[in-house]
Amino acid sequence: MISLLLVIIPLFFGISTFFVKEKWSKIIALVSSIISLGLIVSGEYFHIHPAQNLLDFSWVKEKNNGYFTLLSLGDLGLALVLLTNLIFPLIIIFQKCNTIRNSHFFFGLMLLMQAGLNGVFMAQDVILFYIFFELGLVPAYLLVGIWGNGEDKAAVSFKFFAYTMFGSLLMLVGIIYLIVNAGASHQTDFNSIYQAAHLLTSTQQIWISILFLIAFFIKMPVFPFHTWQAKTYATAPTSITIIMSAIMAKMGAYGILRFNVQFLTLGWTMLEPYVIVLAVFSLLYTAIIAIKQDNFKYVLAFSSVSHLSLILAAIASLDLNAGLINIPLFKDFYGIQTLKAIVFQLFSHGIIVAGLLMIADWIEKGSNTLDLNKMGGFAEGKRFLPIAFMVMLLGSIALPLTSGFIGEFLLLNAVFHYNYWIGGIAAISIILGAVYMLRLFQKSMLGSNNGNNYNGDLTITENWIIIPLMLFVIIGGIFPNWVNQFLF
């Protein structure tokens, strides 16, 4: 039942937020997101002390076909549901009410997105998966288009929308193809789809895999489908950018693991060499682009692509031949070590990028600019901001004893095991990552003032938003195994 509540509560509060007065909207959104957080925390309890019936939600589907699971909290999606519900209260506190018009619509749409994101990671039915996949998208389009910054916000948000929708519709063809092949009764639950997909020939699997891959590459995004992303991240309100980069981008990785690796295993093993080359190219290419950017948020956007490309490379290096997944649960999978690392890194990247984007927003609010050339010397006279920035940044460049190190090290290790040369080339990204992130710190915090002043430090609220994120980066780096029991 917890899985159902995690969808219903944001949906219900989201719709009711449309009808309340503006001043109440933030409080209602906060209440809703804290209830969701409480639910996922209790879900964690039942996950570690199994009581499946409390986590799953079953429903009678068609007249004669009996009950089966529609939503399930656990397995692969658990870490991402946890991430979603941890981040939402923080960004709702983070989002200032007085800077947006019609805040009740803003928060309502945000909660609808939360319902969609929770649903995607819990759905056990392909149609439901697709519905939630899109439920996150339409609010995002409106949020970017209405409350974005800049003159061309409508065009930017439409580009984002059309790109993603193009991918999703190709995915829809793939999904329907699988359903049509799932026996005469056309069951749509993951078990039937899993069995149907494994009966397809390798040629069929490759073609359907490509349809899915395009959708998920756009969502992540990965070169060459990343062109919508930097502009959208810079245009969207920061809280929405956080949702997009910390959570929505993870939908792509989740989808690849679910559909390509688990369902279309044969096709995936055929495509693996090409995907890993593409991923490593994307990893280095976007890292190099990030070094040359002058906009704070653009650097973060490209770094996000770069990190997700590494995750993709690790997914492609999963050793599927050693133990073909013959049970539709990832827990029983041979390559569990790499898979654990992938899930850990998905979670860790979400936390780190959320923290960095919040810092970017505070710097922008304080100094009225995101242009690195106009910043400089912002560390002077501040106690907390430079520390928070530094911790997040070190997590991002994978310094040992941060959560980023655990993730990146294990992922690179997996790529190394796949092929030494590719692993060696991918490892360059660590250096490039250090270059662009330290450049970011140096240009903004150190040196002398270059035009724009930034006086004052973070407020107490802002401190308390960033502290949980910093704690995770450090604890995740020191006790990764303890953290991982909650994730997978």
Binding site: K63, F158, L172, V173, I176, A184, H186
Partner: protein
């Protein structure tokens, strides 16, 4: 059988009689100036009576017997009849607006719509090609007048004339097709024609084949499928908005009902020989209007092109005539009815919103939708949901309609066609979301728009149906199964 019993059964076996009586009453009441406010009520009562009769016959429809071998109210006919009458009820609600109540000849306006509906009901329930032709003519002639009802407006006149010329042309082709089919098979009866089709399954005589093709072309004209769609945008734009709403919903439903009924029951056994033609028409109907619509600036014209594009999706049903579900029931008709439900409801919401905006600003350009979210947040929210449904966003009826259509295509093995359909859906997002963009992301001042209770009722019912179909498609589709 005693006459009295016969009369009662004529009234209650099908809605035709009741609707005709109310149509005539409306015409005469329309002559009395004092009764003008009552016209809408009388019309609604008549339609509700017809609708109840239709629904009461729902269960009987599985074992329906033909009436004089001319009409059969089987499940397929009853479903489409119910959809058409319900649609017309919603359109009547749109007319509850002072600019229409003050119109001249209001009684005739309502009466014509009901007469056209009668033609539509005959078209979806025919068992004999003569009845098909009679139905088409009843529907068309009423529609020509409806298109030109705004007789002092030049565009409306042009629309009416264009519609009349093109429609008569298509009727001619239809007659020619019927003649050839009759000449070869020796009968107007669907069952006899089907028997003939089975007999010449592999190598049908050339004239018979030409007859089928002529019928295909004639119906493509009627449902405005490309390359026979060119009349539709001008007619839709020129006609009064309510007439356009009528044409793009009730008329389209009737035309598709007849189209499907004819090809499904008479020509299904040699579907391989006309399937290729249908595939080409579907592909063209998906590509041409979607690409053209992106260049339009008038919302009414966008809706016209969207109607053509939806005809492409609906025509896919002709490629699914052999599909069965696990119980061995044919599913094509249910797929079509589900798609039509979503399409019709979203269309009426869109036209109602357009009508209100046009009444307030005097223009149907996208410009006039700018800043509507400030002027009436509810209206713009309803229109946004309708547009989402048209664009096929999940959890709405539009998505489920498209889902079942593409699913049927893939079951038939038409992978390329379904990818074309999906790509064109992406293109369609562009023009459907243009209006959302105008409402929410652009600013402009304008008069406030007030929704009266009829409109609120219409919008809420419409949205509820859109989500009900979108969230419980299996229950709805099971209702429609034959």
């Amino acid at each position: 059988m005693p006459i009295s019993n016969n009369l009662w059964s004529q009234l209650t076996d099908n809605p035709l009689m009741v609707l005709a009586i109310f149509g005539i009453i409306l015409m005469f009441v329309g002559l009395i100036p004092k009764m003008k406010e009552w016209l809408l009520t009388i019309g609604l009562v008549g339609l509700l009576a017809g609708w109840s009769i239709t629904l009461l016959n729902w269960e009987n429809s599985l074992t329906a017997t033909p009436i004089f071998n001319m009409l059969t109210f089987d499940r397929g006919a009853i479903v489409l009849t119910a959809i058409m009458i319900a649609t017309l009820i919603l359109i009547f609600l749109v007319t509850d607006h002072k600019s229409i109540i003050e119109m001249n000849h209001l009684g005739e306006y309502y009466a014509l719509m009901i007469f056209a509906l009668i033609g539509g009901i005959i078209m979806v329930s025919f068992k004999n090609l003569l009845m098909l032709f009679i139905g088409v003519e009843i529907l068309s002639i009423a529609s020509y007048i409806l298109a030109g009802f705004n007789k002092k407006n030049l565009l409306s006149n042009e629309a009416s004339l264009k519609y009349f010329l093109m429609g008569s042309f298509a009727s001619g082709i239809l007659l020619m097709g019927i003649t050839l089919v009759y000449g070869m098979s020796g009968s107007f009866d669907l069952e006899q024609i089907a028997a003939y089709t089975i007999m010449y399954n592999i190598h049908p005589p050339a004239l018979y084949f030409v007859g089928i093709l002529l019928l295909l072309v004639a119906f493509s004209f009627k449902v405005s499928a490309a390359p026979f769609h060119f009349w539709a945008p001008d007619v839709y734009q020129g006609a009064p908005t309510v007439s356009t709403a009528f044409m793009s919903t009730v008329v389209k439903t009737a035309a598709f009902g007849a189209f499907f009924r004819l090809f499904y029951s008479a020509f299904n056994f040699n579907s391989t020989i006309w399937n290729t033609t249908v595939i080409v028409i579907v592909a063209l109907t998906l590509i041409i209007p979607n690409l053209t619509a992106t260049r339009q600036t008038s919302f009414k014209r966008i809706l016209a092109y969207s109607g053509i594009a939806n005809a492409g999706f609906l025509m896919m049903v002709l490629l699914q005539t052999n599909l069965v579900n696990e119980n061995g029931t044919h599913i094509a008709q249910a797929n079509m009815a589900l798609y039509l439900t979503g399409y019709v409801i979203a269309n009426i919401i869109a036209f109602a919103a357009l009508f209100l905006v046009k009444d307030a600003t005097g223009s149907d350009e996208l410009e006039s939708f700018k800043g509507l979210s400030k002027r009436n947040p509810y209206l713009s929210a309803f229109l946004t949901l309708a547009m989402c449904s048209m664009a096929g966003i999940p959890a709405t009826a539009g998505f489920m309609g498209k889902y079942f259509m593409i699913s049927g295509l893939l079951q038939g093995g038409h992978l390329i066609l379904s990818i074309i359909a999906v790509l064109m859906s992406v293109v369609s997002l562009y023009y459907y979301f243009k209006v959302i963009k105008a409402m929410y992301m652009e600013e402009a001042d304008g008069a406030n728009i007030i929704l009266n209770p009829s409109y609120v009722f219409l919008f809420i019912i419409g949205i509820v149906i859109l989500f009900a179909v979108g969230l419980m498609p299996h229950y709805i589709r099971d209702l429609f199964l034959m």
